[in-house]
């Protein structure tokens, strides 16, 4: 999505989409989505997406033809079919797993479950449903769409008027997304990747410094993609769900998970956690804990087959369980000192959990942590400086600090400071600076996103 090919494709889609008769807009977006996916994928991937679309549509129509109290078996067939395909790809043939399968499967499942709960009407138009599942900005790495939010927009899309504000806001979001990915995530990856690709040769600061930067790299990579996707969709007159809301400004584990990958964890909360926690109310305080562990283990399965994902999910489930178990009603607001300490604790948790997430195996986690303990600061700092250069390291930490500062401020994430630049010339100077920084200082040689692997 950071290639000239994508930008040229996107520009053509935007122009054709808004210039074409309103009734053809859905078909144009569907054709664009198909072209995008065909360009990215093998025949097997395309067949899987087409299979999910046809299967989900037919199951939805079938459920719609049944009275509400007789829909459960059909829903179970639908869920089993779609989850079965996801699990088969993830566990039986992970190497041939289609791009974005975790995202479009959950998007389709959301539709089936919402029909069951009567939260959305059955979609009659197959083109609209196909677009809902395969809309190109979100198909590779989300945000995971919810039927209640996206389908009504698609159904009403032909009546959506062109809006200058939408286009401007969409392009602003895309610019900020590119900046996060190319200027921050890709540059931080130059420090983190060598360390985590070869942890055996890294000791003390050589692995500790990359580990501190890792959460910021993961965040900027994923949030960058999300902003590009949301911006592209907004330009086309469609609002996608947000995925992040200043997660590193969280002051508790549960607060973190309300702000991180919101489209996935919102999905899991609504369709997995809440039903379990409500259904097991008789277990008292154990009910939410049961819901938490189920949710996080499913989240690990969603990410992939590696045991490190199970370990990563277990760490978070454990911390959240402790929080739930010890929860006391608190009325007085947190002091600034408490907020600071809590954010530090969250960051330490994230660093540890992200090491587990990034490692290729559980023994490698042990190796990383053991190597980290072998501190010889002066020699390792010299080696680190020789490897990356002082300016690169200073800029990397400055970037991480900037992200952290933005995270602790309330309000939506936009190009920092631009909201405060009310005068148009000042705003445009800021856009130019960001654009030029992307071109001249960004690392443009990689088009892959971390969450593209899921």
């Amino acid at each position: 999505m950071i290639s000239a090919t994508f930008l040229a494709f996107f520009a053509v889609v935007v122009i054709v989409h808004w210039a074409a008769p309103p009734r053809s807009r859905v078909f144009i977006l569907l054709a664009a989505s198909a072209a995008f996916y065909i360009h990215e994928q093998t025949i097997a991937g395309i067949a899987s997406l087409a299979g999910i679309v046809v299967f989900g549509y037919l199951v939805g129509r079938r459920m719609g033809s049944l009275p509400e109290d007789r829909r459960l078996p059909t829903l179970l067939v639908g869920v089993a079919g779609e989850l079965g395909m996801l699990i088969a790809y993830k566990y039986v043939a992970p190497s041939s797993s289609p791009l974005g399968i975790s995202f479009f499967t959950f998007t389709s499942l959301s539709y089936l479950i919402d029909i069951y709960y009567d939260m959305v009407p059955v979609e009659r138009r197959v083109a609209n449903y196909a677009l809902y599942v395969s809309f190109f900005p979100q198909i590779v790495s989300g945000p995971i769409a919810r039927a209640t939010k996206l389908l009504p927009q698609i159904d009403a899309h032909e009546s959506r008027a062109f809006s200058y504000d939408d286009v401007a806001e969409g392009l602003r979001l895309m610019l900020w997304g590119f900046a996060q990915k190319v200027l921050i995530a890709n540059r931080l990856a130059e420090i983190t990747d060598p360390a985590f690709d070869n942890p055996a040769g890294m000791q003390g600061l050589m692995i500790l410094v990359p580990a501190i930067l890792l959460p910021f790299q993961i965040y900027c990579d994923f949030a960058g993609y999300t902003d590009i996707a949301r911006g592209a969709a907004r330009t086309l007159g469609i609002d996608l769900l947000p995925n992040f809301e200043h997660p590193y400004g969280a002051t508790s584990p549960s607060d973190l998970w309300r702000r991180w990958h919101m489209s996935l964890y919102g999905w899991l909360t609504d369709y997995v956690y809440t039903p379990i926690a409500m259904g097991a109310r008789g277990l008292g305080r154990l009910a939410p804990i049961l819901g938490l562990w189920t949710t996080f283990l499913l989240s690990a399965v969603w990410h992939g087959t590696k045991l490190t994902y199970i370990a990563w999910a277990s760490i978070h489930a454990l911390v959240l369980s402790v929080e739930v178990w010890r929860r006391k009603a608190r009325t007085e607001p947190l002091s600034r000192g408490e907020i600071f300490l809590r954010r530090c604790a969250i960051m330490i948790l994230l660093i540890f959990a992200d090491i587990v997430f990034r490692a290729r195996s559980l023994p490698e986690v042990g190796l990383i942590l053991t190597n980290m303990a072998h501190l010889a600061p002066a020699a390792q700092l010299r080696e680190l400086l020789a490897m990356h250069g002082a300016s690169h390291l200073i800029i990397a930490f400055a970037m991480a600090a900037l992200i952290q500062i933005i995270q602790t401020r309330p309000g939506p994430v936009v190009v920092p400071g631009v909201r405060f630049l009310r005068a148009r010339p000042a705003r445009w100077v800021a856009y130019c600076l960001v654009f030029w920084a992307i071109i001249y200082f960004g690392r443009l040689d990689t088009d892959t996103f971390l969450y593209g692997a899921f």
């Binding site: 000239a4 090919t5 994508f6 809006s163 200058y164 286009v167 445009w428 001249y440 040689d445 088009d447």
Partner: protein, 309 residues
Amino acid sequence: MWMALRNFVLMAVLACAPVFLLAQLDNAAAPTDLALQRIVCAVPGVDYLFVGSSFTYSGINPLLFTERGLKAYNLGTPCAGVSYYHLLANDYVARTGTRPRTLLIEVTPVSFATGADDWKRYTIHRTLVEPRSHEEVALKYGLGTRYFELVRKSSVQGAQALARLARGQTRPECKKVLSTLGMVVSNTQDAPDGRRDEAKFKETLLDTYPPQKAEELITLAKSHRDGGERVVFHQPPIFARSLYFTPEFMAEYEEMLERLTKAGFEVIPPDDVARYSPADRRNGDHLNSEGAEKYTEYLMGKLGIEIKR
């Protein structure tokens, strides 16, 4: 609303314009890069023109031809692969207005590897007599993901070219290139094991052989033969990199060599690599001056040129 949109597009174009305008000026002044100077300083009317990669510019000494009263020029360019050979050979004809009597094209498995034709590192397409745009190259060679890197490189080069123009530096400094007729002279010697940078080599190599590049090579050879040139393929010795090609890749490569022979082209067999000790190499993969002399003499023998001892 439409007025606002028009203004928005206008402002966006203005914001991007400096980057792209500077990129257009990358060839406004003579290049300072030795690899690009070799193209600009090409000697007209040669008997032997060598087109190839760093194996060629390190491994062929044109001065040995001069000693025999023949004129040769080494147009080896770093990271060149088959697509670059096209541009280099055709540019020589267009730039000098002459055709070489014999065009010697380097061919090794590396010519077909991923790392060959590194458009970003060596933007030779911008240095040609008839420069090719990044857009054309990106479309033709599927470089959509690298396009912005190309623009960035040219943009920086454009700013540097402007600075050189302001200092009145408009002519290329061909002295160094002409003193060796394009060859890179190196007297350093390799470490005894000669096998380094394994990770770097691996990432530039391919598991699968790209057949379209073989077609491209044959098209190039035919077009120059039709122009009256004698076209000869030669295989300079490669050392470390040869260890990382798969047997399947090598089988396809051998098949391509057979196709060249069947199409009526001379293909000089590779020299025995055992003749080249680490003392003949400047690094794990490239010949130094000693090695270049050995290989050039081998080639001259195969070309039927008497070797002066």
